[in-house]
Subunit: 717 residues, 2 copies
């Protein structure tokens, strides 16, 4: 489900608003941490004790009971990661004597041959200053525990250690996924593999593999080879490669749910098989982003025969119990124009396109059942007479999910987890599949299986995709695994910074590729000023990039917007510092050095940026941003100067500054500064110094924030 | 040939000395550049003209005459790289009309089916402000020209462009290789592929694939599967993968010469086939670095039968005309102790181990001839009655090569190109396979085929290997391609910085992985102080790492030494600035701000470094380096302070500072500061201020440098 770019985003906005409001009300309960830790997702129960287990060169692991090869491989990977972090060579192989081993692992069973939504992922981890002990019912549970163990590894002057702790852990939801759209931009095998490693590190357990789209058909079909040979520009996964991914995922306790999107989003199918379409064709692979007309013809028996063979082939290839048929965003325009389809509808009494799609889905359901698969599809497939094993994948939100759950349908939430839209992590973190105050009974709530972050790939290449997924998806993983009360945003961001670096040890490129992209843009010159700029800009949110900087699926993804990342770290730190500064009225001492240094850095980067831009035509689009950056710095410093001198600026100054900030707030090159609100606050604070005598500091700060709030935005701006 | 770590390095040092002396004498001739350019290797002939060819969104390529698929693929890769740099989407496919195309390519022939040492790689490139035209005899020549074209791409306020230029180019040597040792540390397929891309970018044309060693047997043998299954820890290339690499290389005009090292360096062979050994075994995969005893038994017919089958299999797998049999560093200790081998030698009148190895080589030669291959081996295989088609691969040096050439033998130079030894690039750059003053006749000189950089892999992982190879190997590539007179070191380093960034667009990780390694070491804390440190340290040179920081092949390669790189850039810039400062006597104004800022940075980084080190046990070994860094900074600033005040320090101060610098010069954690000589010079300069009145500034500087020269080093220190 590619979110509906032609619909207003009212539904999405409602969630975001609700979710944010909810976070605002809920006290930031830290259900676990007496000790500050770096665990993400936070376990169901954690109790730290005094003491520590040293991790030294003799660190050894023993397995009690069954030693599933998958568990052994997981232990081996853990050892290599400990070695990588500690730069110590550890003994190879398992220790024979559990009593004297540093770490004893006991998994009662190997777990299911094919990873399942019913897999028992629970574990307990008990660390004393003598030994660590991990116990689980399945190898998958043990793998989850190994990741927790790795997250506990810490060091100080005395060496590496694991703090003494007692952890009892199990996931809140059994379905915790990441959708990767490999259709709009094909992603090489190593991208999928390193993302599976990262998923395992944060205890995600479903790779939703979005394999077909208007822009590409990415899986080899031996039955209908024209599908992938003509629909993919040669960029597809062979069946051997698909098996390799499935096996790699299984090794990490991750399911692979394939999606074959139909009847819409199907242009690439029709390039090689125009006879399946609802208009005669010919068809070419779609290069643009958006919603397109081509759709399978639901009225022709040949289409079902074709799908029966194709889905049979795919059902045999993908062992997971579920198969996703998409079903989203079919607007039926081809159907409307096809006289034969119209006649068919009239004859069968099918009243509209939605009903026709329902007819199609029912036929698909029969086919999938025959091939032993449970059907899953986006919200649109939900219909009253659907059998209850069908899973609804919701882009509409928790309310739609709850409604379905009350009727006995299972569901998975993706609304609120659209990580391609560059929203702040905090916003995703606030979205709960079963929000506090839900009226679902326990039995109904059990139908809400979990959620999936969705990495739609219109604007990501192999070089940039990690930077859109990570580290943010770790926060969604926490939402889906940890107790509902785990909602402290500041602590989430603190831990996310640690997770981010640890993901790099698995080969993830979200951190390191930014400098590479900037170096390419700078053509070998010093990138420091460019780093200053990119640290405080973010790509525009939602679907604004489509309009503000049009590109096709063939365009290079190497611009400044591609180097810029969500959750610009320096911007977040600046905003926090301004908040602290304003809270320190009337002294304005707290964090003032940090705020001034940052503002001065923006000013001084600007001339160097201009020189860089001159030499790099690819950066010409960034010229207004360089000027905006200088102006933000100058404005902030002026405001601080008024404040420190206790001199009120003129109303004219304030109005001119606020007007200038409104211009700066307009995105350029589809990039925006998430620090503008803070600079506005500084301007207003300087102008409102005189009121400090009449108000308490807290009242004053509230007033400043209210006055500094920007004029209401037009929707879809 | 793993250089002989137990021999003194006298031979190597002699080259280095000669080469350096030669560079010192030769005036830095810039044979081509009226205009400063970024070409590397420098073409045989370049003439820039006024004007430029704009590169815009309508950039189009046409092919005249034959359009080899390899050339078409090369054009496609070029277009994607232009897109990546310019962030412009260019038209897909070839233009139909050559007259109006931006870039017209005409290759007379496709080139050889199997890339050959006789391949014609010449091309001409003519760029006017209307069109660029590339002409070549073969597709390979055209590929070389495309890389030149990419290196010419430049930009300014008016957009992207290619300067008007006339280039006639051909390589000086036909054999320009990179040896990658995948045996000591296995390297994944993507490492090989990205390095092949990088090789093509700097016009290297031989991947020497060092596949077998004491520490690993890395190629699948279907005839003798125990070789790879028991000798590789499961880390080997399947034959399909080998074919994939060969094809990937061929696509880029690169030959693949496999090496199967024997009779020594053969432990991993013997793990699965102890019967081939000269002692009964059993054998296990070697985990240490060094020279080991296990050797094939040259006296048993079964060994030749085995090798006949194995080499027959490999000869069929690898299409290149040459096959490398190693032949190095067999000390014959197993032979000495084997009574049967001794009896065999007596019976056949074989007088020593060298003669026995000669006997072995002759047998191998017969086998290889039967399988249609030309034998290549390290210096040791050279023997008087060798047929002249055998190629000598020299770790001894140009003199040995010249001697062989005079006798009619072909040779390839690797002495001086051991990039694993972390010497400065300038040192490799100074080594010429046929140095100026060579007495070889033209016919003899033609026997010197070229050279190979050798990436021995004792201390590199997939994460760090690029940082040892690149960008330095581009300078060796230039030595092997460009006219002998291309020797300007400063300009080489300037261009190398540009090449480095451009290699990143091919996925090379030499730049970006350093920050990743530092973040891992810092455990998520700010790495800025660590970056300051690592920017002015280098791993110890030659084989000192072996002794100073012992590790095995199983040890993690994630320490500070692995993050540190050869040619530490900040150190080079600091040294150059000190040189300029001292040349500006008696004002000492030039570059003084840069020198002071750098010194102050070292001082201020130290306390933050200490804090980082406290929290990261893996960095504990760096503690003395942090202190040294602070002391270097303080010492330099003190010296500058004396100089600027015109006050002479006491002799006691000078002696104490120089003594301290001698301590700092001792490597710690196998890392060293390549800036110590410069700081010594500052100390001496401060002490010698009074002499400035008696000497010319130039005399004074020479005196300072002489006095500042460190005490003579003990060899092998």
């Amino acid at each position: 489900m590619r979110a509906r770019i032609y619909l207003p985003f009212i539904l999405t906005l409602i969630y975001v608003f609700n979710a944010a409001a909810q976070t605002g009300h809920a006290p930031p309960v830290a259900p676990v941490a007496a000790t500050r830790h770096n665990l993400m997702p936070v376990p169901a129960s954690v109790r730290f004790n005094p003491g520590r287990l040293p991790v030294g060169k003799s660190f050894s692991v023993a397995v009690r009971g069954q030693a599933d090869p998958r568990l052994q491989a997981g232990i081996d990977r853990m050892l290599r990661r400990i070695e990588g972090r500690t730069v110590m060579e550890l003994p190879r192989g398992l220790a024979a004597d559990a009593a004297s081993a540093t770490f004893v692992i006991e998994s009662a069973g190997a777990g299911k041959a094919v990873p399942s939504v019913d897999e028992d992922e629970s574990y307990t981890l008990e660390v004393s200053d003598r030994q660590a002990a991990l116990k689980s019912a399945t190898a998958v549970g043990a793998l989850r525990g190994l990741e927790t163990f790795l997250q506990l590894l810490d060091g100080d002057r005395d060496g590496y250690f694991i703090p003494s702790v007692h952890i009892q852990d199990r996931p809140r939801f059994p379905w915790r996924g990441l959708l990767i759209d490999v259709a709009r931009h094909y992603q090489p095998m190593e991208v999928l593999k390193r993302n599976l490693d990262a998923m395992a590190a944060v205890k995600l357990n479903v790779l939703h593999w979005h394999l077909t789209e208007d822009q590409g058909f990415r899986i080899e079909s031996k039955k209908f080879p024209r599908l992938h040979t003509m629909g993919s520009d040669g960029k597809f996964y062979t069946q051997d490669e698909a098996r390799e991914i499935i096996s790699y995922a299984r090794e990490r306790g991750i399911r692979v749910v394939p999606e074959f999107d139909m009847p819409g989003h199907a242009t690439a199918w029709l390039v090689g098989h125009p006879e399946l379409g609802s208009a005669p064709g010919p068809y070419t692979i779609e290069r643009k982003a958006g919603i397109f007309e081509p759709a399978l013809d639901p009225t022709r028996e040949e289409v079902y025969k074709f799908l029966d063979v194709f889905l049979g082939e795919m059902a045999a290839l993908f062992p997971d119990a579920y198969l996703h048929i998409g079903g989203d965003e079919n607007e039926g325009k081809q159907w409307d124009r096809n006289a034969r389809i119209q006649a068919f509808m009239k004859e069968k009494g099918i009243k509209d396109n939605h009903a026709l799609q329902t007819y199609f889905n029912k036929r698909l359901l029969t086919i999938l059942k025959r091939h032993g698969k449970i059907m899953m599809g986006w919200d649109e497939i939900f219909q009253p007479d659907l059998p209850q094993e069908v899973v609804i994948h919701s882009w509409r939100g928790p309310a739609a999910l709850a409604e379905a759950a009350k009727k006995g349908y299972k569901g998975v939430l993706s609304a609120g987890y659209y990580i391609d839209l560059i929203f702040p992590t905090a916003q995703h973190y606030a979205v709960d599949p079963i929000p506090a105050g839900s009226t679902l009974t326990a039995a109904e709530a059990a139908h809400v299986l979990g959620g999936e972050a969705t990495m739609w790939s219109e604007w990501v290449s192999a070089e940039t995709i990690d930077s859109r997924i990570w580290p943010r998806t770790a926060a969604i993983a926490e939402r889906l695994w940890s107790p509902r009360e785990t909602t402290d945003v500041e602590d989430m961001y603190r831990r996310l910074d640690v997770v981010s670096v640890r993901l790099e040890e698995l080969g993830l490129t979200h951190e390191k590729n930014q400098a590479t992209l900037l170096r390419r843009l700078a053509g070998g010159r010093d990138i420091a000023p460019l780093q200053t700029l990119v640290s405080v800009i973010e790509p525009v949110k939602e679907y604004r990039r489509y309009r503000q900087r049009p590109q096709t699926m063939l365009s290079p993804l190497t611009g400044l917007i591609d180097a810029a990342r969500p959750d610009a770290g320096a911007a977040r730190r600046f905003n926090a510092a301004v908040e602290k500064l304003l809270s320190d009225a009337p002294r304005f001492d707290s964090h003032s050095h940090q705020v001034k240094t940052t503002l001065a850095e923006w000013m001084s980067a600007a001339p160097e940026l201009e020189a860089l831009i001159d030499g790099s035509p690819a950066l010409h689009e960034a010229r207004p941003l360089a000027r905006d950056l200088a102006e933000l710095g100058a404005t902030g410093l002026e405001a601080l100067s008024y404040m420190s001198r206790g001199v009120a600026p003129s109303a004219g100054w304030r109005d001119a500054r606020l007007a200038a900030l409104e211009q700066i707030a307009k995105p350029k090159a589809a990039l925006e500064f998430p620090v503008i609100a803070s600079v506005r606050q500084l301007v207003v604070a300087a102008s409102e110094m005189s009121r400090l005598k009449q108000l308490t500091p807290a009242e004053w700060k509230e007033q400043v924030k209210t006055l500094a709030a920007p004029p209401a935005k037009q929707p879809g701006n």
